[in-house]
């Protein structure tokens, strides 16, 4: 079961996305700010990180730069999530070291496609056979 670290400060976003990913067969770890996210990435070494970019303490760009600069975490794919849809936001995320980028509101099939391109799919569970 792929382990995903979701770094997101908005409680409802965390709850909603973690539930939906769990139903698709992913194990979801949670961090609520950039600093805690970096620490959890170092201790848990997840298969992929979903990184909100507008985070407290340290933002998603700085958190990504730190993760990509550290030997134990630089191999972990990072997908940036932002509520802005500007091409410059995408460029900025990629410059920070993100491997891909997606915009909110999350379209789950689109996000799952990007995740699977980086790490392969989650495991289907008995309650995840429905159409998206």
């Amino acid at each position: 079961m792929p382990r995903i670290l979701l770094i997101e400060d908005n409680e409802l976003n965390r709850d909603m996305l973690s539930r939906r990913l769990q139903r698709k067969g992913y194990e979801v770890l949670i961090a609520v700010d950039g600093q805690r996210g970096v620490a959890m990435a170092q201790s848990e070494v997840p298969d992929l990180i979903l990184m909100d970019m507008s985070l407290p303490v340290i933002d998603g760009w700085e958190a990504t730069r730190r993760l990509k600069a550290a030997g134990e975490t630089k191999h972990i794919p990072v997908i940036a999530l932002t509520a802005h849809a500007m091409s410059t936001d995408r460029d900025k995320a990629m410059e920070a070291g993100c491997d891909d980028y997606d915009t909110k509101p999350i379209e789950l099939p689109r996000l799952l496609g990007k995740m699977e391109a980086l790490i392969g799919g989650g495991e289907k569970t008995s309650d995840s056979e429905e159409g998206a």
Partner: protein
């Protein structure tokens, strides 16, 4: 391009466009995400009678998102970022 009602348009003009777009996208994401999650769960639970109502919520949310994209695409305050 769809037009916003005049009162909303005037109010919107006094806000920073990128901030407004960000602030609107967050709760809209909750509406869309939870409605999609509920559709899946009520189908699994066999409560098909609730699905059309949840689909109406999801459809309305998607329409609102499209209106936002049409009206605010590419706007942000000078020097603004996240």
């Amino acid at each position: 391009m769809k037009e916003l009602p005049k009162a909303i348009e005037e109010r919107v003009q006094h806000m920073l466009p990128a901030d407004l777009l960000h602030d609107l996208r967050t709760p809209l994401g909750h509406i869309l995400g939870y409605s999609e999650l509920l559709i899946e769960q009520v189908q699994e639970a066999g409560h098909e009678e609730f699905v059309p109502y949840l689909e109406k919520i999801r459809t309305a949310g998607r329409q609102l998102l499209e209106m936002m994209k049409d009206n605010f695409q590419g706007v942000r305050p000078p020097g603004g970022e996240s």
